[in-house]
Symmetry: none
Subunit: 213 residues, 4 copies
Amino acid sequence: MSDLQKVSQKTLDFRRREEDILQRAQELFISHGEDKVTVEMIADAVGIGKGTIYKHFETKDEICLRLMIRYEEELAQVFIRLVDGEDKDSARLAKDYFSFRMNDPERYALFDRLEHKLTNTTSCPELVKNLHEIRASNMDQLTAIVETRISEGKLQDVPAYFHVFAAWALAHGAVALYHSKFYQEFIDDKDGFFDFLAEIGIRMGNKRNKDDD
Amino acid sequence: MSDLQKVSQKTLDFRRREEDILQRAQELFISHGEDKVTVEMIADAVGIGKGTIYKHFETKDEICLRLMIRYEEELAQVFIRLVDGEDKDSARLAKDYFSFRMNDPERYALFDRLEHKLTNTTSCPELVKNLHEIRASNMDQLTAIVETRISEGKLQDVPAYFHVFAAWALAHGAVALYHSKFYQEFIDDKDGFFDFLAEIGIRMGNKRNKDDD
Amino acid sequence: MSDLQKVSQKTLDFRRREEDILQRAQELFISHGEDKVTVEMIADAVGIGKGTIYKHFETKDEICLRLMIRYEEELAQVFIRLVDGEDKDSARLAKDYFSFRMNDPERYALFDRLEHKLTNTTSCPELVKNLHEIRASNMDQLTAIVETRISEGKLQDVPAYFHVFAAWALAHGAVALYHSKFYQEFIDDKDGFFDFLAEIGIRMGNKRNKDDD
Amino acid sequence: MSDLQKVSQKTLDFRRREEDILQRAQELFISHGEDKVTVEMIADAVGIGKGTIYKHFETKDEICLRLMIRYEEELAQVFIRLVDGEDKDSARLAKDYFSFRMNDPERYALFDRLEHKLTNTTSCPELVKNLHEIRASNMDQLTAIVETRISEGKLQDVPAYFHVFAAWALAHGAVALYHSKFYQEFIDDKDGFFDFLAEIGIRMGNKRNKDDD
DNA sequence: TATGAATGAGGCTTCATTCAT
DNA sequence: AATGAATGAAGCCTCATTCAT
């Protein structure tokens, strides 16, 4: 193996480990709650020393932020995949967006909690900025598509972000519901309920017929 | 003043102080974030000693839980007021419920965070149970009213809790939106947007006309 | 014992403990070197818990700074004592100043090291300012006296601080010498040597006779 | 290029690199303070890997010690140069010695701090011994010259080391003064002051005329 | 030989809770 | 009952040193 190969192999391993740390951290955060998870626990889960974590991330906060960025980047992939395909069906996008958001509710709930904790903090401001940039870009994608549908007369003619955020809100609420120990007890027919919600989500900004209530 | 009066005065003062602690704690939790607020800060805000807090509450967790219960009890009051009045208008209830939930979003967001932290903990299981009982009762009130509307043919004939939870989810999402530093930047017309959301909330489970999309 | 007495007793105890911590910390710093002394070691030496230290001092740095301030305040006492007495003999002052500085060389050496470490740090800037104020005041006392001697024609007519700092430098060097493991080996006749130094110190800024070399 | 040349070239490079490490380390120690400088920082400054440092020096302490030895060796050069020259003027030596000491006060202050830290440590006893040997040799040079001057009746007839150490002390104090953030503020006329000090240094052990104060 | 990823002991600090007064 | 000093477990992070490649 050449030196060059060795070096790139090392770099690759390093990246892989970074990914590993993020993945394990996410799992632990979800299952134990981010407050109960110590850096040492993450290190143990990955099978490395505490200090090694700090070769990859400056602080524990950075791990959290990187996790959030990763999520937002995955979301960006959803859009990229759609745009790459010839078929720019907006309904398809709405569905993909929703299913992405609802796909791993525990994970989303984690990021929701982290949002509150980290956004107010001064540590890693550049990462927060980075996160927000990706999100802004994702927002742009969504609003562009919604605007098309509005101009087609399919959706109520309100600012595009009204639709986007209404959808966001419903999805967000659905995720929270999914999590609440308490509310879960009442929902016998999960599939039925979430279908009901999805249907609402799809219909909710539609242009109203004059004879609607 | 008789001894009896003195005693009851003392009891009264004790209660008042308890209320005071809860109130100040809530304010601090909301403004600084529950993690950054120490028991000492609460004591200082109330103007008492740290030890005194522990005469009223066994642990810091108990304070949080009591705060959540208090919230749920206030919600119960909304229903009681409605039931006491002759007017059992369901639309009115929906509106009151929403406005209660949306009224103090920061507060609701706090309880949302606490929910996750405390529900998994074993620290005060009886209080958690208590909390859930009140909630269950509130749920019953809501579903009862929704069921009436369904039988009147106003709402889609799905399990009543579908409607309740859909409403809950939308309100929850709206609150989250209200908080997110990031998403806030995009919403220029707040009033317009939240009106839009409320309208969706009111319509969302309505029986569909056949010619709706 | 009245409540008032109890309270003042408590305050007194608290002060005493603070003094105790400072004293023990100083001893440990001198004997082990400030870097090797942990907060826990100090706590153990005082016979209290680690956390208790932090009721008295915000950081380890603060302990160091307070130690330096204490030293400078003691030096201020030397001047106060002289000024209170009717006898404002400048020679007496010079002697007192020197003997104070040389009295506990290990201690002075400690502060000399701390000076470098803490003055460049941003932690506790107000304490650093405080320290420098006391020093400035002490400097003023010294220069005032030196100015008198200059005007009496006893000392060379250069800015007063030339004399003060020359004295300071010699005393400082003497302290360092006193400490150096290496140089100590060469000095057999300590008393003789330090007398020699003191004599130099006293004479060193004197007005030169014309027939001096 | 022959193999032999290659080998010696390698050895030369190795030496040069060692010198490079020492030089960069010294610069960093002076500008950032020895505590804040990590081995990694030194490696980065030199442009090599951290591990490579340990091919040249066993520990970080060794780097410090080697730096001190280097200093003392340079001082030895001062004497050698003098002895090599025909002119064994003692005044010239005193001046050279002073100017060497005062030439790079920051550097000297560094070694002064290191002295305390390393001398008490057991980490590299043989290097400490080495350091002290060179110093002892330098001391011998100095005392020999001073003894000459005493026998010439130019200096007070006290043990020669009295004069040497007095000079050392004054120079040492001057260096410290030079550094103190605080005292610096008071010294407007630096050149004037240090000339004043130098003059004192030259005169200070002179035989006194009987009519001196 | 050069490298730099990995290590883990150890330091500083926080804070919920206890308890003697 | 009220207090607040005392506690110490626990967390985050640093960095000199090692070692496999």
